[in-house]
């Protein structure tokens, strides 16, 4: 019974965080399912692809792969390149996912851009289980995407109302999470400098390399800059002891003793 209460409290905390993603994913998933429908695939294809690949942009790319010559090695390498940013998500979440047992592989499997953005920035409320909160965000987001893709594949035609511009909801969410991190007082200067590096390097690389190839150079440049700036960023603020992994570690310890 206690476990059930823990799950429900975490679900109540998680659901509001995923509402914008529900809107964006149902819509984008639907357009993805329809795209596959117009290319002659049954809804089973977008349903399975959205469940197992679960990386939005890569699924759109895979539609084209399925329509060209059979080359699984090229498909594998392309997936590595398109999704290289996940490596950084993993590095960011090493501490937060520590000690979460069976939930951990599920959290890693389902860590798309939007789930990462929410889980990496969320402040776990008092009395809410960290692992369940992360897991609900992950599962809810994936269920929106799979539902959207499957519905789109079944409908196969245009939606009955004008949805032009609705996909902006995900852009809006990333921007709001960015603002939240910027205004969040607990991280101070280090967080803001890191955020500025992220935006500045990305814009510079976007201008230099164009929209299709800027992610990997941007990630490489960020790592170089962060290594170079480490003497200033690493022990700016006593925050080193009070935020991120360490804080999460203590929260987990607290929970362990409570049980």
């Amino acid at each position: 019974m206690a476990e059930r209460g823990v799950r429900i409290r975490a679900l109540k905390a998680a659901f509001p965080l995923t509402v914008p993603i529900a809107l964006g994913f149902l819509f984008l998933g639907c357009s993805y399912g329809m795209l596959m429908g117009t290319k002659g695939f049954s809804f089973v294809w977008p349903m399975c692809m959205s469940a197992f690949i679960f990386a939005g942009s890569m699924e759109f790319v895979t539609v084209n792969l399925l329509l060209s010559a059979f080359n699984p090695l090229a498909a594998f390498l392309l997936a590595l390149m398109v999704n290289a940013r996940h490596l950084f998500y993993g590095l960011s979440m090493l501490g937060r996912f520590r000690g979460l047992g069976w939930k951990r592989p599920l959290l890693i499997f389902g860590m798309c851009d939007e789930t990462f953005a929410v889980n990496s920035s969320v402040h776990v409320p008092e009395g809410v289980d960290r692992g369940w909160l992360y897991l609900w965000v992950t599962l809810l987001n994936q269920s929106y995407w799979v539902t959207g893709a499957t519905l789109g594949g079944i409908l196969g035609a245009n939606l009955p109302f004008d949805t032009d511009g609705l996909d902006f909801v995900l852009t809006a969410m990333f921007l709001v999470i960015f603002l939240e991190q910027w205004m969040g007082g607990d991280t101070g200067r280090r967080g803001r400098i890191s955020a500025l590096i992220g935006v500045g390097v990305s814009i510079a690389c976007l201008v230099l390399f164009g929209s299709d190839g800027f992610m990997i150079p941007a990630m490489a440049a960020m790592i170089v800059l962060f290594v170079a700036l480490r003497p200033w960023l690493d022990d700016l603020a006593p925050a080193a002891a009070t935020d991120g992994t360490v804080a999460d570690g203590t929260a987990a310890d607290g929970k362990e003793t409570a049980r």
Binding site: R98, D164, G198, F226
Partner: protein
């Protein structure tokens, strides 16, 4: 569809393998049982901020700055979001407000 169903399934499995490798590698290289090197913990603290910044740029990467409407709908919608967030600091209000402004702009104005 030019491939056989089996070839299609193999292609998808290759994409799944590539995607999952990018998600699992950091956790396999730095397992829970061992404390990761200090520099990796440092990356874990600064990267979330930088990656959110990258995601904002990524989401806006195809905005036509030099042609068409010069990205005005995006600019106006983003400014709306910033203003709403400074005013109410409510994530859902800011996201909904910005999205509605953007949809109205691309459907009715531009």
């Amino acid at each position: 569809m030019t491939m056989t169903v089996l070839q299609g399934i193999l292609t998808i499995l290759a994409v799944v393998a590539g995607t999952m490798l990018t998600r699992f590698v950091p956790f396999l290289v730095f397992p829970e049982s061992k404390r990761p090197p200090r520099i990796i913990e440092y990356f874990g603290k600064v990267l979330p901020y930088a990656m959110t910044g990258l995601l904002v740029v990524y989401a806006l990467r195809n905005t036509p700055i030099l042609t068409g409407d010069h990205g005005l709908p995006e600019l106006i919608a983003c400014l709306t979001i910033v203003a709403l967030h400074l005013w109410r600091r409510n994530m859902l209000v800011s996201i909904a407000g910005g999205t509605i402004v953007y949809m109205l702009l691309v459907q009715l104005v531009f």
